[in-house]
Structure formats: C-alpha cells, structure tokens
Assembly symmetry: C2
Amino acid sequence: MTPLLTTTTTNPMNSDEFRRQGHMLIDFIADYHSNIEQYPVLSRVKPGYLRQLLPPSAPYEAEPIEEIMKDIQSHIIPGITHWQHPSYFAYFPCSSSTAGILGELLAAGFGVVGFNWEASPAATELETIVMDWFGEMLSLPKPYLFSGDGGGVIMGTTCEAFIVMLVAARDQKLAEIGKDKIGKLVVYCSDQTHCALQKAAKVVGIRPGNVRAVATTRAASFALSPDSLESAVLADVEMGWVPLFLCATIGTTSTTAVDPLQPLCQVAKQHGMWVHVDAAYGGSACICPEFRHVIDGVEGADSFSLNAHKWFFTTLDCCCLWVKNPDALKRSLSTNPEYLRNQASDSGGVIDYKDWQLTLSRRFRSLKLWMVLRSYGVANLRSFLRGHVAMAKAFEKLVAGDDRFEVVVPRRFAMVCFRMTRTSEGSGSDDDGGDEGANNLMNKKLLERVNGSGRVFMTHALVGGIYLLRFAVGSTLTEPEHVMEAWKVIQEHADAIQGDYIHLY
Amino acid sequence: MTPLLTTTTTNPMNSDEFRRQGHMLIDFIADYHSNIEQYPVLSRVKPGYLRQLLPPSAPYEAEPIEEIMKDIQSHIIPGITHWQHPSYFAYFPCSSSTAGILGELLAAGFGVVGFNWEASPAATELETIVMDWFGEMLSLPKPYLFSGDGGGVIMGTTCEAFIVMLVAARDQKLAEIGKDKIGKLVVYCSDQTHCALQKAAKVVGIRPGNVRAVATTRAASFALSPDSLESAVLADVEMGWVPLFLCATIGTTSTTAVDPLQPLCQVAKQHGMWVHVDAAYGGSACICPEFRHVIDGVEGADSFSLNAHKWFFTTLDCCCLWVKNPDALKRSLSTNPEYLRNQASDSGGVIDYKDWQLTLSRRFRSLKLWMVLRSYGVANLRSFLRGHVAMAKAFEKLVAGDDRFEVVVPRRFAMVCFRMTRTSEGSGSDDDGGDEGANNLMNKKLLERVNGSGRVFMTHALVGGIYLLRFAVGSTLTEPEHVMEAWKVIQEHADAIQGDYIHLY
C-alpha cells in the first residue's frame, strides 16, 4: 500500500503528542482555576466581538497548540462568563470538581459509544451500579432501583428526561384510550415549574393549550397546592379532557419551592396520571438526612430526576433519572434494526440503554459520577453541600439584618431570594400594592449594577409580581469570604441606588 | 462564619490536586492508547461481571485516585469494547484525536453552560464561527450559513437533530392545515434510513404507521429512488394523508448508500415537504473536492447534518446541523421565562442556542471542533479521510481478489460491504435464490469467529435478504498494517469455516 498521510507524519492520536499537549492543557486549566478571581464573573464583551478576532475561514495548514492556547487566553476567556468563579451566584450553579472534570477526560480518552451492552459492557454496567449507589444515598424507595424492579439511567439534561417521561406516559395512555386521542391529553404542573416541561410537552405533540400551569401563591411559598391541582383536574375531566402527567418540583428555579409530593401523588393517582418528580436542583441535598424529608412521598410517584451537574460536582452534563417501570420507556423508545442486533441483546439478559433514552449514541457519563462518589465519599459530599447551605444561611442572616432589604421567601437549600424594599420600614408583605412597580425597577437596577461590577454575578426571578434577586451558593470554589465580599458589593450598590432613588422620587 | 468543611480540608477544585491528578490521567490515557493493541477489540466479559467486582454501596470516606485508577485498569478496561483500537472496524467509527479529547477537557475545565448568549458569549459566538468555517469547507450553499440567512448549531447526536427538524416541520405544517391534524402527517424515508428517524417521528407524535420506509433495491445500490418516492407520496395524497417530511441519507448505516438529493428534493418540494439530509457518516468526506458531488442537490433541501464525532475526529458527541431557516426552529423551540431574560436576549441582536435545540443546558462543544480544525487544518483533515478511503479501497481489492468472497455493493467511502459466498463460482447476483439462507448463516458464523478472536471487530447488516459484513475503516489509529492483519484473520477463519462447511453440507 502507498503511504497515506501526505502533509503530516504524525497520527492525530499519537501518544507522545497527546502527552505533551495534555500536560500543557492540565496546567492551563489548573492555572485558570487558580487565577479565576482576576476575571469579571460576567463577561463584558459586546455581541459579535469574536467574529472580528478570528479569521473568516478554517486554516488550510495545521497550527501549533501554542498558537491555539494563546488565542484561547486572549480571545475566548474574555468572552466567558465564569460559571466556576467563586463569586458566581447566578441561575443554579454548574458545580464542578477535579473528579468530575477528569472523569469527563477519561470518558473522552476511552472514546466508547455505549448504546447497547455489547458496545461497551463496562459503560452499561457501571451506570447501573452507580445509579443504584446514588439512589441508595438519596434513600430512594427500592422500586426505583435495579435492586428493586426499577432502575436508573444517565442523560444529558432534565429536558431530555421530561421528553422521555412524557412519551412513555403518552403512549401508555393512548394505548388505553385510543391512538387518535392525543389532542385530549392534559399535562399538569405549577406556574413555577421549569419552562422545559412546556417545551417537552410541545415536542411530544401535547397541545400547548393543554399544559395547566396551576397558580401558586407567596403565602404557600410558591409550592403547588394539592387542592388547586384537584380543582384543575376535576374541571378538565368534566370537560372531557384526559389527565396524563403531573410534574412536581423539588426546588423550583425561581425560589427553590418544594411541591408536597405525598398529597400531590394522591390526587394524580386518583386520575391515572404519571407523576414525575423534577428534583434537578434540590434532589442532591437528599443525601443529607436532614433534607431527605423534601422528597417524602416520592414512593407514590413514577419517576424522579436530578442534575448531578447542578449541585453534585460532576460537570455538565449528567442528569440522573430513576424510573419504577423501565418497561414503559422501552415500549416507547426501543429500536431493533438488524445492524444493532447481537447475541447479548437477543438473549434479553442485558440492558441496552439506547432503549431508555432519546439518542442512540451516548457518552460514558457514569465514569465521572463514579469518580465523584469515590473521590469524595458520602461524608465529604454531605459536608460540601452543608457548607453551601451554611453560606446561604449566613447570607440570609446578613440580608435580614439590613432593614433596606428583605428575604422574599424562606430559604430552603443554598439559595436566598431577596430584594431591596423602597422604604426602610417596608414590610415586604403582599400588601405593598402600588409600590411594587417602583420596587421592581429599583431591584432591577441594583442587579444591573452589581453584575456590571464584575465582582459578583446573580440573576433574578419574577414571582407573584415581585422582582427578586437570587443568590445561589453552589460554585465549588466559593468560600465564606466570597459570600461576605458579595454582600459588601451589594450593599455598596444599594447605597448608591438609594442616593439615586432620593433624586428620582 | 464557622469552618464549613469538616471531613476534608481540600476544596474539590483545588488547583494543586487537579494538577497532580490531571497529569496522572493524561499519562494513563496516553499509555492506554499506546498499549491498546494488547486488548481484545471486543470485550469478552459476561453480563453482570462488574456488579461482582464493585462494592454494593458508595464509599462513606474518600478514596485516593490511585485506588480508583487501579480499579479502572483491572475492572473497567476488561469491560470496554475498544472503539479507539486500530483494529476496530465495527458500526461506524467514533473517531477521536488529541485535539478532540483535549477540546472536551478544556470545555469541562471552563464548565460553562451556554444556553444563551449572556451565559457565555464565547460559547455561542465560537459555535457560529466554526459552523460557518465547517460549512464552507463542505461547500454548503450560502443559505445554510450565518453569512447567508441560515446557520448552524452543534447538538449531541443526529437523533436530536431529527427530533428538532420534525418538530419544526410539524408545527409549520399544522399551522397551515389545522392543529388537530397531527394524525394526518406522513414522514418519508427509505428502508435504509437510520432507525433513529422512526423513533424521532414517534417521539414527536407522528403515528408509527405514518412513516413510509420506501423499499430500495440492490440494483440501485440501496439508494432511495425518486420514482418510488413519488409513487408513495401520490398514493398517500390520494388517500388524504399529508406529506410532511423527507429524510435523505448520504451514507446509510448498512451499506453507505447515497440518496440522490436533486431529484428527491424535486419530488418532495412539489408536495410541500421539509427535506432533511442526514449525512451523519458520509458528510465529512465532502471536505474533499472529489467527494463533494455526493451532496449535489443539497441546495434544494432545508437542513443538513453530520456527526463530527463519527468521521471527523472530534470525539463523541458533536452533531453539526445546518438549517436554512432558523426561525422555523425558534418558533417551535423558544422559551422565554423571566428567570432567563437579559438585556442581550431582549435586544434581539444575539443568538440564544437554547431556542435551536431540545435542551436548555449545553456544553461548550464548539471548542473541540475549533481545536480539531486548527490543530490539523483543511489539508491534513482531507489527508486523514483520504487515508481511510485508500485503506478501504485496498481492502476491497483484497476481497475481490479472493474467490471465496464477494463485495456486495460498490464501496463509496471508507466502508466495504462483503461476504463469503457458498461456492467459489458464486456470482453474488440477485439470483442466488435458495442459497441465501445458507450463505447468511455461514457469514454470521464467520463474523462470530472473527470477533471472538479479539483481533478484529466488525459488524453486519442485512439488506435485500443478504447478510453482509461491514468493514468500516475510520478509527484514527488504524494504519495499513491493521487492515492487512484484519484480512489475514478473516481469511484464517474463512478457511476454518470452509472446513466445517464441507462437513455440514
């Protein structure tokens, strides 16, 4: 045969070159984490900044790694909003760790595609094992585990879990009531449920008008009320709609509200609904016995998911989903083309995860979760989460001690929902009435200033007409001094805004 | 504040520890790649092997990385089917590279979640830039690029791209014909289209009976015939069904067949269908001018995707999707909850990729594609692909030169479809008739033996009643000697089987 590589003599997976560049990258990332506090948390670039810096076309000839790293430092890093910054308190964290990052690296190094058992038995088997380990740590009821009759699977995000659960529930229901009745199906959630549910319902063909976002109240800390759910369901049933699915949330995005599972499941089950528990953020806390009560009643639901990349140190992406009845998934999602057939699958004695999820190809994600569980152990993982909660508690106390501010809803996990109030006497009760508009504007302004400082990044929510600031502790590098510093920054800008305020009103 | 970490004193993202463990992992992966030939390509473990080796629960205390690495070596590696092995010729490759692996590492190190522009401008902007670079390398028509009025997005897999395209097409069509007509919609493909399309159609609520897998023939090399498509569509229209979507494939899974885009688009467009081009495998080859003709006619389609993790060195996952009309995606997939609102998004002047895909959270995948493009350059990338094609060509010649074997369909890219034939005079024509059953069994047996040897891993397909062996060259480490060695192994087992065969018949 003729020589095949003409313009380079090095195979792109040559080990020596991998080693050389790999060590360089490890040092680069270690330095990035060491020096991360020198960057503004929220990127300050303007839209379109990068197209001006990069050439219009891919290079014809190879470029050395040194050149690429130089551009990463000078062109990419300024455009990064530093989610791993210790002063990042926005959205929910995407918590990382040495074990999580290196688990992802190792998975990339193996480069296996574990769609079925045979395609890499270790990828499938490790996933079943760590999902049982993790489920046990959360005290999930046995029927959710492989050691019961259920089981767990790792997906990318909760959005995928929603779609998969809805498809399984939909097909199960249509098999009962007739395949042409898709237009009759109704999905229930609260007005605090993550928007991904509405999107997932739309994707699977539920009519957008058939998602009932039941109203919550500040008095009930924005949790879904079983009575309100029941009223909504009864009204629908009377009109001939068919209740399909309830999504309950443990730790809503806006305020970390916790929907009461036990009574909600009772209502849902009376009407033959599939109940999914979205614990994307709050679920991880259940490894601490003092938090486990937030999922009391989960035994009455059908499926439960959390994002281990949110508050469990595994780096994006790692959504853990447990289901009581994997057959319902497999009935909807199995594919068995001849080109994927093999003895192990034909035997029926193995798990082919492709039939539990939307996609065929799947990364070896269990590796990073396994490395996180082993590298830190249950004791440290609890301690990390408790550390975040303690910092949030301390921040809550600081807010409560400053009469220009109020805590809007009681803190449940490691996020504090707060705001400035217009007058120092402001009670923050539901009766603020006409002042809310002015309050909201003031808090919006405060947030813009604080984020603009580059020293802190927070985000906001609007609930019950109240614009509130969300201070979500959970970035792995965050230590108590960063919380203190954030509070100082917030206070400084509050002072400045109060000055403006006196001018304006 | 009180000390927060009780059982450990080290932050799980401590840079020194990251550096120490990171260098260890880089060396581990480099060694794995250096020594990969010592492992059997196809794992030999038995179902359930790993549960016997690992403890039943997660550890309470932290374990050192050295212990974990020991277990990876002794417990995980034996359960891996080595997709990066140079003698891996199964399914399609999942081609890796130093740049791909390290790009994934760097993305994990940054740990950003680029769901919208503000959440990390560089993640969004780099994606738009590399998708234009790559699109230009493929000579995609301008309307698919941001520099035209279209644009590209990176997803995990083609399965997600299928769902997204179907949802966009479905909603567009239902807006025309009425939202209750979902049961009328029909999706077209060939009997060679990847099974993920049927699954995606089911997910979005298309009735399973409404996916028309139009029959192909060996005479037409299993490509979808425009005439057959037209007949199917006309029959459906006459029955009152509504044509929605056509999926054409460039490089089918079973035999790398190429559907003729130009005439297929003509038929589809006459009936108002969305045309998606699934070039998951074959698309990459279009960076070589001599292969570009396989997507001639793509200008008539609506969307085009390929998996850069298949045959473009970026490691799983990296599905590149280009669309002419991103607004169709955004109309179906946008979500705008208050907690995600920000000035940049409100301005309308930025791209929020969450509205182009199923999931909200997304990894910084463009980083690895950018690093691949720059580290190797267009010249080397062409040369790598040509090297694979040359090796497949050489293998094809070896097969054709041995009269116990036949090439079942002409090779198009870097995969050879072949089989043993029962008699040395076997012509392999469509008229083999009654012998096919025996031939198929013989080839099945050959495949089992070859894969059981551990020295080669291939997979099979069944097309037009013919069980064929797929020899897919594309693993990055594969060199001509591995192809020669594979042929030797195949011949040895063919000899042995011919011995058995004489016994049996």
